[in-house]
Symmetry: C2
Subunit: 252 residues, 2 copies
DNA sequence: AGCGCTCCAATTGCATGCAGTTTGGCTTCC
DNA sequence: GGAAGCCAAACTGCATGCAATTGGAGCGCT
């Protein structure tokens, strides 16, 4: 028996949604790096729509955490801090444990075949671009979420998985996908067998190891948050000499 | 020591954000019932902004799942199905277990005082409007999430908690807040004591019992989704007799 | 009465225009 | 040489206007 009755969750075909999808994909495939500027004008022109639409799309992506929006400033691709990346993975672990708990032993043969086919695709993509491997791996997890037929769960898993994608591009060293693929296969097997506890443990370990492999320590230099990086240095300067750095320094 | 360093997570002061907050509150306090229409014009006029802004706000709320947006149709307050409500609570349980796991034993005295103060407020609100009690109870959980200083966690817990609020208004029988307040106090105590396992168990039980108390069985009649209710009948009709229900039925 | 049709008011989808803010370079002055 | 100040270009925030779609009232037909 299927995990649950069918239900639609696809995004509508608004121009806004189209642009959202395009940008989302560009971001997770790292065509747009974290920090990349996203001016409304440029987006509108590129996609052949008005600024209004581009703006709306940016709003949606900001709601998903893929884009940062500051008043009167150009929107940029989100640059999650290391801590945020770690938080995202923690949340993801819990959500995906829930996914496999709901799915264990409840998948149809067809669904299992679909999962296996996806992993086969991941396998074939080995050796190709890292970005593609990462995207496929992410989509495996989203495919799982879809099978719960819980639209809310799908949304949250998708969002947090995309965010994790984003952070992988920031903090990851060259990706090794081999074991990830094997772990995907193990998860499918355990799901088919119906061992909920086992598959939750597998998923937990899988995500945890991906996170640990990727998020290598607080990586001081790639931490990106200039303010944080310079804080200790700034402390030294400001406490010993002057109060304000740029304006009054010349008077001292 | 505080659970983590400070971080800002508040919504900006755009007109859009202001309207979002207003609508969100109206929805969770049931001033706007599920299914209520939200025409852009009316919203814009009411809040003294243009349709553009109202529209954008609706988009954000739709991303949060509080509003349903269908192309070329008037936006309406979301009407989650019973199953979606149950799913939301399942997700919420996992997320909030994570919250208290992170918080156990890491709260400052000031934070504990803040939590106690909030529960006191809940206590004082007893006997008042149900909607207010529910909102305060929800805000207790969001307050907890804030103390993790994980913006992502705050966002997800807030969203899913609001959704649960919404479903409570749909499926709940008259709310009994007494035990919920006691359970909140128990959670604070366990957090202060630092017993992570205990507080996770408490939170799990707390949310589960709220859900079970509220989501009384699939309540066939209040299920609201006419299509679902009629599905079995329609199956019978379409498979045995004719293809379309309204147009051809009269000919049979 | 019941059913279908037509047409109009209501409403959304989207582009454009204008005002206010930020950015970055240029000039000026030390 | 380098910092402060100024100015124009770039960009966002928002309102308004127009075309397209919807839904429902009214009307005629059976």
């Amino acid at each position: 028996m299927a995990a649950r009755a069918s239900s639609k969750t696809s995004e509508s075909s608004d121009k806004v949604s189209v642009i959202c999808r395009a940008l989302r994909r560009a971001i997770i495939e790292q065509a747009l790096e974290p920090g990349a500027k996203l001016p409304e004008d440029a987006l509108g022109e590129r996609f052949g729509v008005s600024r209004t639409i581009a703006r709306h799309a940016l709003g949606q992506l900001a709601a998903e955490g893929l884009v940062e929006l500051r008043r009167n400033r150009i929107a940029v691709v989100a640059t999650p801090s290391w801590q945020e990346a770690r938080d995202a993975f923690d949340i993801r672990i819990e959500l995906e444990r829930l996914v496999v708990r709901q799915l264990a032993g409840k998948l149809t043969k067809a669904q299992i075949a679909e999962l296996n086919a996806h992993v086969d695709a991941e396998d074939r993509a080995r050796g190709g671009a890292d970005a593609v491997s990462i995207r496929l791996a992410t989509e495996f997890h989203i495919l799982l979420a879809h099978m719960t037929n819980s639209p809310i769960l799908v949304r949250y898993v998708s969002e947090v998985a995309y965010r994790c994608c984003l952070t992988l591009s920031l903090y990851s060293r060259p990706h090794s996908t081999e074991c990830a693929i094997n772990e995907h296969r193990a998860i499918i097997a355990a799901l088919a067998k119906g061992d909920a506890a086992k598959v939750m443990e597998l998923m937990h370990h899988h995500l945890d190891s991906v996170a640990n492999r990727a998020l290598v320590a607080p990586t001081p230099q790639r931490g990106r948050d200039l303010l944080d990086i310079l804080a200790p240095y700034a402390d030294e300067v400001t406490s010993n000499r002057v109060v304000k750095l740029p304006k009054i320094a010349r008077r001292g």
